[in-house]
């Protein structure tokens, strides 16, 4: 099939990678967006969710936010933000056209997996472990920092991993509303019947997604206390990209 050959040609032509609006340019833009949105969502979502898990309140909201996040199409939310008077399609520094709208949408869709996983992680620290900590004379704060958080970390990290996948996917979709990122090259290719260009950019996005996922998985393994002590049982229960929050696709 010549479409394969054309796609390969597009990918192996240096000028398609370099230059203004080239693959590298857009890839950098999308990575910057993804990291910014993920960090912002973590700063907002994690403290709240960990605290709720610690005091054991607000579970209904923490669990159901994931269901809501799944039902709202990312595309629809992006479309609403871009069409509104604010934030609209205004440029935002290095984030490109409709940068603010895209950042808001990415941050919002990163929250559900972060919140649900962090909440469940702290909540499901075994009751007897918490009692033992209290029995040893730990205050509530000490118990949280020294017992609950370390035990919860792997599941919290799997929430971060889910959020990362989600944010990367949503950042790609931003192109459907003329936003920044590699998706722009995909959408542009399909709009102008340059299918090889669209497919080539899709390959780049997919490979980048897999690399990000592998990096996140490595980070998750690094923070697993059970792994450090050589026990693998926790991995069986909590490992994998899909955990408490379940997958949220986009």
């Amino acid at each position: 099939m010549s479409l394969f050959r054309l796609t390969w040609e597009y990918l192996t032509t240096a000028s398609n990678w370099t230059g203004n609006g080239g693959l590298l340019d857009r890839l950098g833009e999308q990575l910057l967006l993804t990291v910014t949105a993920l960090v912002l969502a973590m700063l907002v979502g994690l403290p709240v969710a960990l605290w709720l898990g610690h005091i054991g309140r607000g579970g209904f909201l923490a669990i159901n936010i994931s269901n809501i996040g799944r039902a709202v199409p990312t595309f629809a939310l992006l479309a609403l933000l871009v069409t509104a008077d604010w934030p609209g399609t205004a440029e935002l520094g290095p984030y490109g056209r409709a940068g603010l709208a895209t950042l808001i949408a990415l941050g919002l869709f990163a929250l559900p997996p972060l919140i649900t996983n962090a909440y469940v992680a702290v909540r499901e620290v075994p009751e007897e472990v918490k009692e033992a900590a209290t029995g040893m004379g730990m205050s509530g704060r000490q118990r949280f920092w020294r017992v609950e958080l370390p035990l919860a970390l792997p599941l919290v990290m799997s929430g971060v991993r889910l959020a990362l996948v989600q944010v990367w996917a949503t950042a790609t979709i931003a192109a459907l509303v003329a936003g920044p990122g590699v998706g722009r090259i995909i959408v542009d290719g399909f709009a102008r019947n340059l299918y090889s260009q669209g497919i080539a950019a899709a390959v780049v996005v997919a490979v980048a997604a897999l690399v990000l996922e592998l990096l996140a998985a490595a980070a998750q393994r690094a923070v697993d206390p059970a792994r450090r002590t050589g026990r693998r049982a926790r991995d069986e229960v909590q490992g994998g990209a899909m955990s408490a929050a379940g997958p949220t696709l986009s």
Partner: protein
């Protein structure tokens, strides 16, 4: 011709009698009943296409996921491969997966159905394996003791007991697929996504809000339908939470 400057035929209300229609380019309101009325055939067509794509994709997911789950259960060595590959597919953004299908299936509805079916598959395989794992071992043992063969054990004992967990997975897969179908607009088969896309291009607020609301309504309705089906199929487990 989309953003028409129709004069509202409504003479009843006093102050805004002869103003432009609420979906004219001048007013461009977010919600406009007149738009829904005027364009209802277009909206219905988009909704039907959306429903069609969603249902076909989920069915495709179920049809592929079931044998995969059975194989993964029999051969634990294959289980990690199957789960690994499906997780990798799930990692790929939908806007990238659809173009990757185009060389094989072209710009067609098949592209969208297969692409979304692959995502549903990921969720469903996991749910099915979890479902089988939730069947109490002693029940299986008693059934074997009673002389149940492999097939009869699967369909009469294991499947019914695994159903609540599997159905929970089906709900997640269905709701996700409804939302994802909108991305099919890249290859012009996106159901309500086509309206959203058009709404963005023309800055037509009423159109995109109506489509977005219908998406959410559709996923809530399908979710409720599955819950109802599950109640009917497993009358013994009324209280199982999803």
């Amino acid at each position: 011709m989309l953003v028409t400057l129709l004069v509202a035929p409504d003479i009843g209300s006093a102050s805004e009698t002869d103003g432009p229609s609420c979906y004219s380019a001048l007013v461009n309101e977010w919600w406009c009943a007149q738009y829904v009325k005027d364009r209802h055939s277009e909206i219905v067509d988009a909704t039907v296409q959306h429903l069609e794509i969603t249902v076909l994709a989920v069915l495709l997911g179920v049809v592929i996921a079931f044998p995969l789950a059975l194989v993964a259960r029999r051969l634990p060595r294959l289980e990690s491969t199957i789960l690994g590959v499906s997780t990798a597919i799930y990692t790929i953004p939908s806007l990238a997966l659809l173009p990757l299908m185009v060389p094989f299936t072209g710009l067609s509805m098949t592209t969208v159905v297969i692409g979304l079916g692959l995502y549903a598959l990921t969720i469903l395989v996991r749910a099915m394996l979890d479902g089988f794992r939730s069947v109490p071992a002693d029940v299986v043992e008693s059934a074997v003791g009673l002389g149940y063969g492999r097939t009869r054990l699967l369909f009469r004992i294991e499947l019914p007991l695994a159903l609540p967990v599997m159905m929970a997975g089906l709900r997640v897969a269905t709701v996700s697929t409804v939302a994802l179908t909108t991305i099919g607009t890249l290859v012009s088969y996106g159901g309500l996504g086509n309206l959203i896309s058009h709404g963005v291009q023309r800055n037509f607020r009423a159109e995109l809000v109506t489509a977005a609301v219908l998406c959410v309504v559709l996923s809530v309705l399908l979710d409720a339908l599955i819950v109802l089906l599950q109640r009917l199929a497993t009358p013994w487990s009324r209280g199982v939470r999803a």
